[in-house]
């Protein structure tokens, strides 16, 4: 039988994959993909805990995370399009306007 820890381990692996993507990527669109991976990993953990503790709160939080992901994508892609119109590139190194 599969225990809660199996699901949590899968969720942790997926979360670390997403985090590596966020740290490693230089392209903004790819960075968005990596954040989606992280959000999905957290959703798996919520659903698993909700199942094993016989509690609906985890599923509720997963719903709100999905809603937040949807609005994040809508606003973020709009910003990406504006940035692409202005700079012609989505690379983070090209977008750095303050030379620090």
């Amino acid at each position: 039988m599969i225990g809660l820890s199996h699901y949590l381990i899968v969720s942790a692996i997926l979360f670390s994959i997403g985090l590596v993507g966020v740290l490693r990527r230089r392209n903004l669109l790819m960075l968005f993909f990596a954040t989606e991976v992280m959000l999905n990993a957290v959703n798996i953990a919520f659903a698993a805990i909700s199942h094993y503790y016989n509690d609906l709160t985890g599923q509720m939080f997963a719903f709100f995370i999905i809603a937040i992901a949807a609005s994040e994508v809508a606003v973020g892609l709009g910003i990406l399009i504006v940035l692409y119109k202005k700079y012609g590139s989505l690379d983070l190194d090209d977008l750095a306007s303050m030379r620090g």
Binding site: I17, L19, F33, E36, A47, F63
Partner: protein
Amino acid sequence: MYEIVAFYLFSALTIGLFLITVLSKNVLYAMTSLAAGMVLISGFFFILGADFLGVVQLIVYVGAIMALYSFAMMFFDATRDIKEKNTNNTLVFLLGGLSALVLVLMFAAPIYSDTIVALYPMTEGVGNAQDVGMVLFTKYLIPFEVAAVMLLVAMIAGIILAGKKMDESLTEDMSADDEIMIVKDDK
């Protein structure tokens, strides 16, 4: 038995697909594998008995978000490989793994204590969708409404940001004057 096979199959496939998403140089490959991984994650939800969550995952993530990404990809040059200069890859992998481990331990530690009690326990003899509805529209009604307002704000922001003639039509109101002139000429 089927549950175990499905769990290991789904987890192996999801990890592989998300690795492609994170490591691939091509935007098209990354997006396709992300969509496939999200479909498989809805499989996890169905195994866990969260039917409604699985359906929402399919509709919202695979249906809406991936469609939005593929539309946005048409604005950018998607067929060209992305050139990124990556410095010190091993350090990034080490840092990412370590900080993810710390985060997971931080959030998983309270779960293993014995004091957790179900706040809204699942009702016996009621389907998952009905159960979710009963909790969502009684206990979580205000967060639900706030989420609705947030989605409306996000929709308006997306329309305004991605609108085509943003720099003209938002600042100068030339077209409105023209319409008034035409109406006057007709009379």
